[in-house]
Assembly symmetry: C2
Homo-oligomer: 413 residues x 2
């Protein structure tokens, strides 16, 4: 948590309703931070289905290994999250620590260890001392209450400057169901994963396989379409829990992701994923502007995505945005280096609605004043049309400022 | 050119000898900069062979297009370089501008247009106004002198804080021959190319095909093994000229790159390429430290190189180095995100001679004090052993500082 709140923070936070079958508790375990909560327990009623997407890092954290293993069972009863220590690259001691925590959590929730999910976020390589918090779990689960979502969002923050929430109520077979989500993340954020920590819960009666299908497809244009610094975390975790409690109010039980009644739910879930992902970008370390990069006219969607990421990850593009400089030459550079099909003399580039380049050169109508005025905004849209095909992709990033360097040159101390 | 010289600048510059068959002139054409030279003409005697390696950007500059075309002829008589404007993404006008310059240069040097080589560096997307300098070329070529190397290095600078020179004298079949090189580059520097602008000349009688073979192979572990900011320029150009003048002193004419007599020359050329490449990194925008990243024990050399670049391009690793923080957890992260074979529990990491991590966790003998003391040096060596195979690679980069952001948030204004 930082003293200075991102200028891109939401003007107001949504009121998070309770989700039937979910109870929440937080605690200040003093794992690393002082004077704030750093431990979250989320207890789920029996019958809760679970789906998850995790980092593709070859060096995943010990909790990611555990979650992947437990996902096979399809059921969840308790989630324990700590901030301040990632329990990543902690070797045998890391595995021992997750086993110990899982055992304590299973005892607290009265469930099997296979129904426990864990996530840790913070510094890498420091052993996680479970004696700091394992003894707290019994009491936390016992006292957990349905209305703890606001507190849950705060307990999982590290360098975040604001907690990230999203909620929606949507129709499932004629019955309203609710979806709540929280997320954390501000640095070491890049695609090729389900990014950061994010936890979503719903009372909809959707079975694990259908949940996993929706979540796996949903991340592509949401969490996997954001990048803060091109650095992929060892701990990225996105878990979706479905308590099924809406069934007794008449909501249909859904087993197949292709079920037509699922369409409104899927759209709402994707909106929540996108909302949370963009909140992560807008809290990017040192960020002063959000940048939406859209590439159209590529040979394929995959090619468009690679070019969009090449632009979004370019330090020169990102510093130009920070400097409010409409330096579209650097966008050309980033297109050129992506290694994807592109033809210089077909390129067109827009900043917002201002076309700055056309057919491989500066737009004849280009006005530096208009472009510079546009760059003063909080939200910058960069669009590139390659003129080659129908491939299209959008990704989100933030600018690169001195504050990013300051935060990360001094993170551990 | 910057007012503040990089703390990593060479303590002293080499004295650059003349190369027989090469004459040099510089001029202040006022293309963008005031009060400094920004135009270089290098004239070569008849019979000069040429080789070149260029950016792999899909949006190359107009001069790169011209050089690629003229390389087919194998001969060079004149090189014209301007700084302040890259003549990149300038469309039809860019091509007209290179044609005009080539015509004026060919007239000045009394040669065919196919023997002209051009390079431009500076801002992208601004049309290059040849009327600023085309009329100067006649006089420059006429007045060019063999001892202009020091001036040549200065005229091609943009955000560089010092000119980059290297020279060597080496045996070719019993006769000493000389190799001189200059380079420029401080930002938009990343591999996947022959980086930046660099021009090398020798009096050795080596034919174009052999030159090209040596140069193509030489860039892999030199210019293509450096990265400042992962951003590949549209204008990267490395050209090697061989006047052949040493032949009359008895040096053998070499047509085949496999000729055994070429070995000392090849080694000297590679040393010059590495020397210039490292000078570019040490002048990286805002750099305060040079970082050598070595990966060993990878499945292949290609895999080692990708992992080394993932580390060297990671903003979190680079900001940690800037902050003198021995944050090896970020090195783990960068290994994990590279997408290459790696096994967390086999990883070992060294900072200099200090082993900080071993078998997937912090080294039992790790001393934060010793690691922190090491990080205060100007030159930081990071080594990662993957324990999987025999693949090995070394790349060079610099740290990421607030000054990089300042330079690039305010470059055009």
């Amino acid at each position: 948590m930082s003293d200075t709140i991102s200028p891109l923070a939401p003007k107001k936070q949504p009121k998070m309703p309770a989700i039937e079958g979910v109870r929440i508790a937080t605690a200040a375990a003093g794992i690393k931070y002082k004077g704030r909560t750093d431990l979250l327990a989320m207890a789920f009623d029996e019958g809760t289905a679970v789906a998850g997407v995790f980092t593709r890092s070859k060096c995943p954290s010990a909790p990611v290994d555990l979650c992947r293993r437990n996902l096979a069972g399809g059921g969840a009863r308790v989630l324990i999250v700590n901030s301040g220590n990632a329990n990543a690259f902690t070797g045998k001691r890391g595995r021992e620590s997750t086993e110990l925590t899982a055992r304590a959590a299973a005892k607290a929730a009265g469930c099997r260890e296979e129904e426990v999910f864990l996530a840790s976020t913070g510094v890498i390589g420091e052993p996680l001392d479970t004696t700091r918090f394992a003894h707290l779990l019994d009491g936390m689960v016992a006292e957990a209450r349905p209305d703890g979502w606001a507190e849950a969002g705060k307990a999982i923050m590290t360098t975040d400057t604001y907690p990230k929430y999203a909620t929606a109520t949507v129709d499932l077979g004629g019955v309203p169901v609710t979806i709540n989500g929280i997320a954390k993340g501000a640095g070491m954020v890049a695609p090729d994963m389900a990014t950061m920590l994010s936890f979503i819960a719903t009372d909809a009666p959707i079975e694990a396989a259908a949940l996993q299908d929706m979540l796996g497809k949903g991340v592509g244009k949401t969490f996997n379409a954001i990048t803060i610094d091109s650095d992929t975390s060892t701990s990225d975790t996105l878990i979706l829990f479905a308590t099924g409690k809406a069934e007794k109010r008449g909501a249909p039980r859904i087993a197949d992701a292709r079920d037509a009644r699922l369409a409104p739910f899927r759209r709402a879930l994707n909106r929540i994923l996108r909302n949370l992902a963009r909140q992560v970008v807008r809290d990017g370390e040192g960020a002063t502007k959000e940048v939406e990069v859209t590439v159209t006219g590529a040979r394929s969607a995959r090619s468009a995505r690679r070019i969009a990421l090449s632009i979004a990850n370019s330090p020169l593009v990102k510093t130009a945005v920070a400097g409010e400089d409409a330096n579209w030459g650097r966008v050309v550079m980033a297109v050129g280096k992506a290694g994807e099909p592109a033809e210089r003399d077909r390129l067109a580039i827009w900043f917002g609605d201002i076309r700055v380049a056309h057919e491989g050169e500066r737009d004849p109508a280009y006005s530096e004043d208009a472009a510079s005025a546009y760059m003063k905004r909080d939200e910058i849209a960069i669009r590139v049309d390659l003129g080659l095909g129908r491939g299209k992709a959008t990704v989100w990033t933030c600018d690169l400022t001195k504050e990013y360097v300051a935060i990360n040159g001094d993170y551990r101390s």
